[in-house]
Amino acid sequence: MARVVVDVMLKPEILDPQGQAVQRALPRLGFDGIADVRQGKRFELEVEGPVDAAALARIDELAETFLANTVIEDFTVRVETDEKSEEPK
């Protein structure tokens, strides 16, 4: 089973109060030097069968029509290939 990752982020021009709230908390926690934080969503899709061009095209459509609202959000789709990266730290 292959994993496809869809990352969804608010467009740069859209105010992200959640990211701002996180950013404002950082100095209190002793983390300095973080100029900005923006919060997004990551979807991990476990795909049955081969992730070929046709499958990716369908996932792209899925991301564009459902996972992201392209009025306010940008998205990226990528196939996760490195098996080791799935190991928890």
């Binding site: 105010l15 109060p17 959640q18 459902f66 609202n69 306010i72």
Partner: protein, 226 residues
């Protein structure tokens, strides 16, 4: 003729009973509609009520938009059937692209619940003809995802075409662009707003006024005269 007005219940809808009651108090026949039923049961108009359909998982209104009943409502709305989306219903209408723009988390991140004064900017839609342009009304507001957003071009277009139907008065409760509380589509049959007129239809509850009843009497007049 008695107008038949449907109110959709999705899993997580909260204000469907209030909306059905408002329809009845205004003098129309309330018709409960179920999200999995494509059939609109010969209703003349539809209300998408407030709440947290599908738990607002993913984004408010994003999952409901793909429910079977919405397939029919989207087609019918495009053909001219009046649709009113209140709060979560407004979110569903933007997700369905029946209304432009999108709804975001309030700029202060808090859930807000208060009586909200509004100015009626457009009294010519199917749902607002019983008001007058410039009239100020007070209805309850309660949401966490009420920040209306659209790009500058869309906002300018909405303003130029008189499609901003309601604006917030006494302070913007959620960071909504240009103080927009409600908008309509180009045809004027689809209206969405964040505050809740269905909670202000009886003197004993809500704001203690009946400022919200005008939505439901407007649509009845529209349907009877159609």
């Amino acid at each position: 003729m008695t107008a038949r007005i449907g109110v959709v219940t999705f899993p997580g809808t909260l204000d469907d009973r209030d909306a059905l009651r408002a329809v009845r108090l205004a003098g129309a026949a309330p018709v409960p509609l179920w999200h999995r039923d494509k059939d609109l049961h010969q209703v003349d108009a539809v209300v998408l009520a407030g709440g947290f359909s599908y738990g607002d998982y993913l984004r408010a209104g994003a999952i409901s938009r793909f429910s079977p009943v919405m397939e029919t409502i989207i087609a019918q709305a495009k053909a001219g059937m009046p649709v009113l989306g209140i709060c979560n219903g407004f979110q569903i209408l933007t997700e369905a692209h029946l209304l432009p723009g999108a709804m975001l988390r309030n700029n202060h991140l808090h859930f807000i619940c208060r009586d909200q004064r509004l100015r009626v900017e457009n009294a010519e839609t199917s749902w607002t003809s019983d008001y007058s342009a410039g009239q100020e009304i007070s209805v309850p507001l309660k949401n966490v995802d009420g920040r209306y957003t659209a790009d500058e071009h869309t906002l300018d277009e909405l303003e130029a075409e008189g499609r901003v139907v309601f604006r917030y008065l006494d302070g913007n409760p959620n960071g909504s662009l240009r103080d927009i509380a409600g908008i309509t589509n180009a045809a004027g049959n689809v209206v969405g707003l964040m505050p809740h007129p269905e909670h202000a239809v009886e003197p004993l509850v809500g704001t203690g006024g009946t400022d919200g009843l005008g939505f439901f009497t407007s649509i009845i007049k529209k349907l009877v005269n159609a």
